[in-house]
Homo-oligomer: 394 residues x 2
């Protein structure tokens, strides 16, 4: 199930950007032009590959390839970084035999350091030689950094005209020493879709999944997610019912990848599933979910398996959302703890001892005042997080 | 220098709110009515004593006493908590022989648990018995929780009519298991001031000091700072030049207390002094300072003595402030690292090795586009922070 959809080929290379002897450059070629959608970091310091992807997608044409390297992020590298990004893209385009304006670059790794273009010269021919002999997992391994496991999955979807495949690949949600890394993801399908419809579907799926996970609240300079649809299956998703099926499958694939990212957040031992309802509007619900999910005190309590509901209530209270305190209700692992401005009766330490040992922790927060809602998945905060992020260079 | 200004007396008691045998209730009596100013948590879940203080100050009259307990926060305790707060205040007022509406309560400790009123019955007579035999440090020790050291200082100020004293006392900036604690602070002076002028002075001083420190970004339900001026010195601060001197001294006293709070933040090993200039306005500068100061990645890098400027730049980039990326400049410990969208040349690891060993770490961030500025003091994020907040109840 982890093979590629039809019409895609992968090649990889060991460029030695940071360490010798491991594949750190991966390329996906679509044998036919593909429609493409992308979403990028909101950080004001966008890495060179993010800027190049954005200008490419702004032109609105079809694309032929995605290239991704680990080891160097090509971020905060100024004009030289932009020139190196374009040059490396030309080299890859040449070996693939496609127009360079149809290749989308992604990078992750150390920021502030420039590419060694000689390493690119040596590596790119390996891409040509290995093209078609590699699979989705090889591509994922080429852009992994501190990820504990490769994140990919495929799903076949039966549409009215036949079966299409979706393959999603992603790397690392934690930001990583010595500077930081990045969330990179690519989703491929061989369905035939209208470009504009694909972009709508893709944005909807990302906003419901990747935009609702948090490891440490930090947004990297390189975050990129790309979706390619090349139509190579000959099966179209144009009829309303097929679009709905494809939307659903796409959201599920991205949702599973997003969950994997949180599970593999740096040092994470838990995934908190924070569901906020009863807010004045969705924006208020999001404020509450993010304040709780980013709270160091909530995160450390969950790491410590501590039924410390006061920290959740306090985070709700400082979120800036509008609500009446006496209407707020909080449940942890299905046990209602707080209502009418005070704790309910019960030995919560005892009741929650076992549920808090589990990996997935469910928090339900109702503000009791409207139909705004939001869900967020967030990791806990552990000793290992501090070690990974403080001690890596020592 | 740590004695009280004229006209104030302290009494303490061991009520056993959480642990037996230590003073956990302190009272300050002003022998004459004092003008009072207060600032409180912005958390929507305000503890009972915060609500009682606010309604008292809203009436605008003079006050006679401050009472503070540790062990129980009386937060998230609903109507019963409000009734208990009022009842305990009446008991203290009776033993002091003042009107209960002139006593300001503060609490810190476990949230969600109700007071044992029998403990108050036993404790309050001790207040009467010890009144006048205790000092500022005894009061501080009664409301300390996990603080590593008592935080207090006094300063004598020569005004045109004579010398007045300011005494500042504070406790714990980190929020503390098993639920959370609180920043509580009281500043006393024997200067004679106009009530409205004192409030202005006080708000200005707090906004420049206590509102510019951060340990973990969490705002407790109980944060309270009170300022009393009783005029017992007979020296007035009404003339413009005296007001300026008093304002300056008040800001210095609160600034020193605020610095102590960050130094003693839970598990803190560093104080980051983050200065942002060149912003479109002060609000934008504050956004940048808080995003950098709350970034887990910046905090762990400082804990690890890591010259990891990319994390600072990335935090600036996601702050939401408006600026042109190429105009941003970043210095760490006086060494300029980043300019024109790229790192400057230099072996920063080597240059910053020694400066990053120091306790105080200076970060200067210029956005290059206006005269908005802000400064923030924030602690780092250490293994001990995680231990204190995750393992306390195990």
């Amino acid at each position: 199930m982890n093979d590629l959809p039809r019409g895609y080929k992968v090649g990889t290379a060991a460029a030695g950007f940071k360490k010798a002897g491991r594949d750190d450059l991966g390329v996906i070629l679509s044998e036919v032009p593909a429609v493409c959608a992308g979403m990028f970091t909101t950080n004001a310091f966008k890495a060179a590959p993010v800027l190049v992807c954005q200008e490419t997608l702004d032109l609105g044409g079809p694309v032929r390839a995605v290239m991704a390297n680990s080891g160097l992020a090509n971020a905060c590298t100024g004009d030289e970084g932009m020139a190196n990004c374009r040059r490396s893209r030309e080299m890859v385009a040449d070996v693939l035999g496609v127009f360079h304006g149809q290749v989308l670059p992604m990078s992750t790794g150390v920021i502030g350091a420039q590419f060694d273009m000689a390493a690119w010269e040596r590596a790119v021919p390996q891409i040509g030689a290995s093209l078609g002999s590699k699979g989705a997992e090889d591509f994922v391994r080429a852009f992994m950094t501190t990820d504990a496991f490769p994140k990919l999955l495929s799903r076949d979807v039966r549409l009215s005209g036949g079966t299409i495949r979706l393959t999603g690949m992603a790397k690392g949600a934690g930001m990583i020493c010595p500077n930081m890394a990045t969330m990179l993801s690519v989703v491929l399908t061989d369905a035939a879709v209208d470009g504009r419809a694909w972009q709508d579907m893709f944005h909807r799926a990302v906003s419901l999944t990747f935009n609702r996970v948090s490891v440490d609240g930090d947004t990297s300079t390189n975050d990129t997610i790309l979706g390619l649809a090349n139509g190579a299956s000959g099966v179209s998703a144009v009829r309303q019912e097929d679009v709905i099926l494809l939307q659903q499958a796409l959201t599920e694939v991205l949702g599973t990848l997003a969950h994997m990212l949180v599970m593999d957040g740096e040092g994470a031992t838990k995934v908190m599933h924070i569901a906020v309802t009863g807010a004045k509007n969705d924006a208020d619900a999001e404020k509450v979910a993010r304040t709780v999910g980013h709270s160091q005190l909530v995160k450390t309590a969950m790491y410590g398996r501590d039924a410390n509901w006061g920290r959740i209530v306090a985070a709700v209270g400082r979120s800036g959302a509008s609500f009446r305190p006496q209407d707020v209700r909080v449940s942890l692992c299905g046990v209602e703890l707080f209502r009418n401005g005070q704790p309910l009766a019960g030995d919560f330490d005892e009741q929650l001892r076992e549920p808090l040992e589990k990996q997935d922790i469910y928090m339900e927060i109702s503000l009791g005042g409207g139909d705004g809602c939001y869900t967020l998945q967030a990791s806990d905060l552990s000793h290992d997080y501090v070690s990974l992020n403080a001690d890596y260079r020592s």
